[in-house]
Amino acid sequence: MSSYFTIFILFCKFSLLCFGGGYMLIPLIISDCVEKYHFLTLEEFGNLLSISQLTPGPVGINTATYVGYLHGGTLSSLLATVGLIFPTFILSSLAILGIRKWKDTLIVRGIMRGTRLSSVALIIYAVTIFLGMSVFTKPIPWQILSGKPLPEDFTISFTGLVIAILSAIAVKKKWCSTTIIIISGAIIGAVFAFVMK
């Protein structure tokens, strides 16, 4: 019972802290679900996000459903998903019903300003986390900043680098939809695995 409550509250928390799109949820989910509670590994989370990009619906909902299922089956899955929407539902309803002008108050504008800047930082952090799962072979070893040597198995994957750069250019120049970019990434990755074999 208490563990069902935990998963519900955890996703309520993610929902309340999500200002500005699904990507900024990545560091929050990794910090709790991977590093603290070990519901899944970092690699599995990366793969889950890959699947989320190919299946319909918001990435946040997809992650909640899957992580919830790993934690305790269908009921947990439902609780995590409902947890992710419950606070939004209440707050949006309050905003619509009463406090029409609330977004002009000093406190809301100040909070928005702070959260917007912290979400910028979290999206950049999400990029560095994904670099450690694609372009580099291991998570980026930030401890080298304090003078520790670079781990020996930390190298660049050139396929990863090429795909990441191509994908960034394709999104920036609006060459094609993100679905096509993701599918192309999968095909190039699989073909490269075949060639390397």
Binding site: L17, F19, L28, T41, N47, I85, I111, S118, S119
Partner: protein, 189 residues
Amino acid sequence: MKFDKEYFSKLFLLFWTFAKIAALVVGGGLAMLPVIEETFVNRKKILTSDELLDMISLTQTVPGIIAVNSAVYVGWKVAGFFGAIFAVTGVILPSFLVILFIAILFPELKPDNIYIKGAFAGVRAAITGMIAVTAFNTVKKSVKSKIDAALVVAAFVACAIFKVNPAYVICSAMPVGLLLLVWKKEESK
């Protein structure tokens, strides 16, 4: 609001439209807005374009998944509390069912096959590029001064290098943002 046949057909319309949007629009959030506009503003004429703009500005100040915020707003406007419930259910049901199905089939996302592993690695790289562009765009949009830049760097260093839980970083950013706003106001007076 009368609970008559018209009301129930509105509830069904909300559920069905949002389920359709969630099932067909891959990419979520902002990609949904044009579809909402087409359905509720242009075709059914039960929302005005002013209300749509109001919805967009509201979704940016209320935390949470953008798709859910939008569904709550349209639901309330069209059919009150139950409208919001039906719209939100519509938005989450397709993703929930698809992912639950995948989770039941693959409770471990650790493929052994090297081609599948390669494909996942390729997708992770593609996502890296996509998030990098989003990061670039949000920096351009939100970072307006040296103080902004310093705060972003501080938040990044706290999370990435000192491994502070991002939840604490977001919570501490709230009073900092407020102080910044108050301080700037004093300065401009």
